[in-house]
């Protein structure tokens, strides 16, 4: 076959794909007979109402000297690891506000960090394209530094996100600027699977975020600069289970819904969206109209433990609390007293759902909890 013929077939295949995508879009639209907010209103639901002293900042964790980029809680409630532009990971006892470790990193340009399920290790990654593992029980050297206990090398671009597979200290998933996600065996340092990449059915631009399903840890979602989110099964690396369209900008953050059947996204297009993983439906768009200003970009999201609340951090310092059922902003943590003074860059909910942690470019980390009177219904 000549190059000319190949190019003609390539063009025809591209046109076929564009046509199929358009038909899919139309078909999906025809199935969207309602969104969550429309359905909840039709069932008589009202938005959550917070009093002025209900959600309050109850801790400030100070110690980083640079922008905070990432944070993660342990599964046993009270410890947090944070990563900062100051080139350190800090491990905190969130209840006492004390630092238990301050880990100086080989590469200061860190973008992501994660706690292992047992809480004995932390992982981080960034512009060095490596995911580094630190064992918190290892002795520190004379300068108080922890040695790297494992380096997961192989990505050809920056490591934007990492998460341990739930209930396993030995496996971890990373997302990268090289357009792939990787499942790693930490014990050997080898890549178990690569998701996407050249000539695979994967992302066509940088991967910015990943989230592993807490109910079924074989499934994870990834968000990308290609404006899509993709659902992966770790047993089938050659092909994404599903691709989710709708965003018009980079998908900076993805997070599974607590029940594992849906996931949320946050994007440079200023919106958060909720998708159903079984059907592929986009169930809801969370968009706040701003008057004259361009919409702030969404940097990070977290769901409350029932899923009724969606916390979304924005580049302008806002942290909206959305009622997921009515698609209304019911609070803005960014406008409360004692809030952050700069972009909210990362969010995380404690394992028992009792506290939200926010990290910011203002170098601070804050913990928020419900201090009001709870009614049981």
């Amino acid at each position: 076959m000549s190059v000319t013929e190949l190019k003609e077939r390539h063009l025809a295949a591209t046109e076929t794909i564009n046509s199929l995508r358009e038909r899919l879009k139309e078909r999906r639209l025809s199935l969207l007979d309602t969104d969550i907010a429309g359905y909840a209103r039709s069932q008589g639901r009202a938005p959550v109402t917070f009093g002025p002293t209900d959600l309050v900042c109850c801790r400030a964790l100070q110690g980083h000297t640079g922008k905070v980029y990432s944070l993660d809680w342990t599964s046993e409630k009270n410890r947090i690891v944070s990563a900062s532009q100051d080139g350190r990971l800090i491990v905190w006892n969130a209840l006492t506000s004390q630092k238990t470790h301050a880990i100086k990193l080989p590469c200061a340009w860190v973008m992501t960090c994660a706690f292992s399920p047992t809480g004995q290790s932390v992982a981080c990654g960034g512009l060095d394209s490596v995911c580094s593992i630190f064992n918190l029980n290892s002795p520190a050297d004379r300068d108080g530094n922890l040695a790297v206990s494992q380096m997961l090398s192989g990505h050809k671009g920056y490591v934007s996100s990492c998460q341990y597979v739930p209930d396993e200290d030995t496996h971890l998933v990373t997302g990268s600027g090289d357009q792939t996600c990787v499942l790693w065996d930490i014990t050997t340092g080898f890549r178990t699977s690569v998701f996407g990449g050249e000539f695979q059915s994967g992302h066509t631009a940088d991967v910015l975020s990943i989230s592993i399903n807490g109910s079924n840890s074989r499934m994870f979602v990834s968000g990308s600069c290609d404006s899509t989110a993709r659902l992966w099964d770790t047993r089938v690396a050659s092909r994404a289970v599903r691709t989710f369209h709708g965003h018009r900008g980079d998908v900076n953050t993805v997070k599974f819904f607590p029940d594992g059947n849906r996931f949320g996204t946050g994007s440079d297009d200023g919106t958060c969206r909720l998708f159903d993983i079984r059907t592929g439906h986009q169930l809801q768009v969370y968009h706040q109209q701003h008057g004259d200003n361009e919409a702030a970009h969404v940097t990070s999201i977290a769901f409350s433990i029932s899923g009724r609340l969606l916390f979304a951090g924005y580049t302008n310092g806002d942290c909206y609390v959305w009622d997921t059922l009515l698609a209304k902003v019911v609070l803005n943590l960014g406008s409360l007293q004692n809030t952050h003074e700069d972009r909210i860059s990362c969010l995380g909910l404690s394992a028992d759902g009792s506290a939200l942690c926010t990290g910011s470019w203002d170098t601070n980390i804050k913990i928020w909890a419900f201090g009001g009177y709870r009614r049981v219904v």
Binding site: R9, L283, G371
Partner: protein, 106 residues
Amino acid sequence: MESGGPESASPMTHRVQSLSSADTRGKHRIHAELKRLEQEARFLEEELEQLERMEKASTSCKIMLINVETKPDPLLPSSVGPLSPTWDRWFEGPQDSKSCCRCWIL
């Protein structure tokens, strides 16, 4: 004149070789990309077939609403039970000097 012969042949040969080489590389890449596109078209057709049998979004909305409303949530002012006393640990006991004293709620 004889010395001119090889000189004129050499650039010509090099140009032909480089063109041929680029052509081959381009051909292989286009062929691989074509295979990927054809595979993606099959996936999209598969998804279209699935959508023919897919239920509407309202079914998923109903399932989600039921799921959300049956889970206790420590951050909600009104929640189904049971409540847990450990949820309020953030407002108990002495606080470190680094804490937000101004945020203390009793």
